[in-house]
Symmetry: C2
Subunit: 398 residues, 2 copies
């Protein structure tokens, strides 16, 4: 390893994703007075712009100077009371962290166990809600794109499951790593609260995070929730109407956010989602050609954001990642908690294209060789077949 790394670093973790130069330039514009007349347009553009990304007209977007963990807390603290039962689904590490946070905040989370190899199961959720005759469960909390496993939960189906049981629980969705990479429809899917962050599909550095809040959740928060100040939605609504905030916003990040929204619409959200899905398919083709296993085992729930790969028994995923970083200046994501050192994660999200994907997969292929990990040849070739060919066809063939 030489002291200088020539060329660009490949930041192929599932977020933060590499920030486009256009956004880096936007955030480096001079800070303005967040109470002055010029700020109104910055704030209003950001708040309105994010509604188009969440696909909501009925919902209200809240922007916090905070990371995604803070937006998780805000979602719970604005709507739940101490002791409230919340139904959460174990999709992976981040669902566990959200559950642990709920406990620390005094809630009573009920965790439907999962095997980390797929999204949330709407049937299991419906079953539990049917048993809850007294409606003790106040919210169903599901991770949309589980960053630790690369599985996507079928949010529309979770909504249907709740509806068919006539249960009044709120539907809260973590789409921190899903939003702007994987299809998400706040209004159409009947989500009550969506939590998101800046450093994934939105292609920004970390530092701001979001709640998208539907009318029912806003109503609940107006009369309830826990003691709160910084996270209070109610404080935001008034000033937000004209583009201002109750306390100092992260002005320069908002500059970047406004650039992001413009870029996403220039490409078209559907094209953005298709690009991510296609890169996911090409990556899985490579992984299977290497004879390795994709962690997500539910067909149709594989993420376009990242692919988690199981290492062959007896081989350390972290040692492999270190080899790839050292030799090819490519950062891969590590396995978290239950799958620590057992999986590595390939991020293919954000401002990303075919050549960058092939650079990444080539580095992994050479890294497998260098690290002495048993594998078959032909992964990169298989990925190129997907990229060259009819991608829809490739998906069907999986």
């Amino acid at each position: 390893m030489t002291s200088r790394h020539a060329g660009r670093h490949f930041l192929q973790i599932p977020g933060p994703s590499a920030v486009p130069d256009r956004i880096l330039r936007a955030i480096s514009a001079q800070t303005i007075d967040h109470r002055g007349p010029d700020f109104a347009a910055v704030g209003k553009t950001a708040l309105d712009g994010m509604k188009t990304i969440f696909k909501t007209e009925a919902g209200q977007v809240i922007i916090f100077p905070a990371s995604g963990t803070g937006a998780w807390e805000a979602a719970l603290i604005n709507t739940m009371q101490e002791g409230d039962r919340v139904l959460m689904y174990e999709t992976g590490h981040f669902s566990m962290l959200w559950m642990k946070m709920a406990k620390r905040l005094g809630l009573n989370p009920e965790f439907i166990e999962g095997d980390w190899r797929g999204g949330a199961d709407p049937e299991a959720i419906a079953k539990r809600l049917r048993e809850d005759k007294n409606h003790e469960i106040k919210a169903v909390c599901v991770v949309h794109n589980e960053t630790s496993t690369g599985s996507v939960s079928p949010i529309a189906d979770v909504r249907s499951a709740i509806d068919e049981t006539d249960h009044p629980a709120l539907l809260m969705v973590d789409s921190i790593s899903g939003l702007a990479s994987v299809d998400f429809r706040f209004d159409e899917w009947g989500v009550d609260v969506c939590v998101s962050g800046s450093q994934k599909g939105l292609m920004l550095p970390p530092g701001i995070s979001f709640n998208c809040v539907g009318p029912r959740a806003m109503e609940v928060s107006s009369k309830g929730g826990m003691r709160r100040s910084y996270w209070d939605w109610q404080d935001m609504t008034g000033p937000n109407e004209t583009g201002y905030f109750p306390y100092t916003p992260a002005t320069n990040m908002l500059y970047g956010l406004n650039e992001t929204v413009e870029m996403l619409h220039e490409e078209g959200l559907d094209n953005v989602f298709a690009r991510h899905a296609r890169h996911g398919a090409a990556t899985r083709a490579a992984v299977r050609a290497w004879g390795l296993e994709v962690l997500c085992a539910q067909q149709g729930q594989e993420s376009g954001v990242l692919t988690a790969v199981l290492m062959p028994e007896g081989h350390s995923a972290d040692a492999f990642r270190a080899t790839v970083l050292k030799n090819f200046d490519i950062s891969l994501g590590n396995g978290l908690s239950k799958v620590a050192d057992r999986v590595f994660r390939i991020g293919h999200l954000g401002d990303f294209n075919d050549a960058m994907l092939m650079g990444t997969l080539s580095g992994i292929e050479m890294g497998l060789e260098k690290a002495g990990v048993p594998h078959e040849k032909g992964g990169t070739a298989a990925a190129m077949e997907v990229l060259k060919g009819d991608y829809t066809h490739s998906l069907a063939a999986e």
Copy 2:
């Protein structure tokens, strides 16, 4: 007013302060993996660097992706229990906001009323503590540099006042707008918790904020405080030791922070403080020559960060500020709550020099004329006398 403003905007509000180009460039560097090996140096440099700015060896610096309001909440929530009595001092608008937050979080704040024309009075604090035989007061909360009035509280004297009553209350200080502009000494002054933010003397955009936590406060928080997750100090200590954070930090803001600390030490903290004090003195000389009144009426407590100026009776401060903004592209701070429309505030903090100050004061002088505000001539001339002359002498003459 033409549609294009030639030249640089003068952001002369008391924060956010204009961000130096060097820092804007630093925050626009590519985001890296906050769990990767290269991040350790970024995080460690930031945490260690801020200790030199707070002037602490015994204390621990906590960095939140949040604005200053969040760091206020963190200080209270980590140390206090529901119903706890806290003694707060009304120095101005920000002390009121902190008090209101304490109420919302379930604390029982006792507010020593002030006239907004000086810093906190150590004698009044000592008197109240002496009466509190049962030590029901758990913390004394004081604003160091009150951003709404331009007065500086004598923190060392507040500490002495607490000590001479043998009262165990924690001393919590808001130095959001004081730190790195006005002398602050965490260890020497026996502060238990200091709250600060990025967008004032630290010359960064808003988006990160700080708690500096002394051993006693850390001990209290380890056994007590309120239900918390995002703001929990205890979660930070482990990962911080090696430069990492328990959840995603605002990576790019940390790049900027490391640049800031370097810049502050290049100039020398004492020189930074002297520069601010000198600009405060020159500004006050101008204000007095105009025949206007400085809001801070306590000699020796005038802030080097900003000067709040009382408008002559019957004249709107906000209309005057609009005139200055429209004609000279200079943003001045507005009067807040009790002094709304009655004062305007001149920020002279951060990355600022003599010529910028004279540009600002000249715009104000011309603005007074244009807005038809009765005033004497000679303000800018008086300021130049201070800037040209022996500044220590000028201070003595005030």
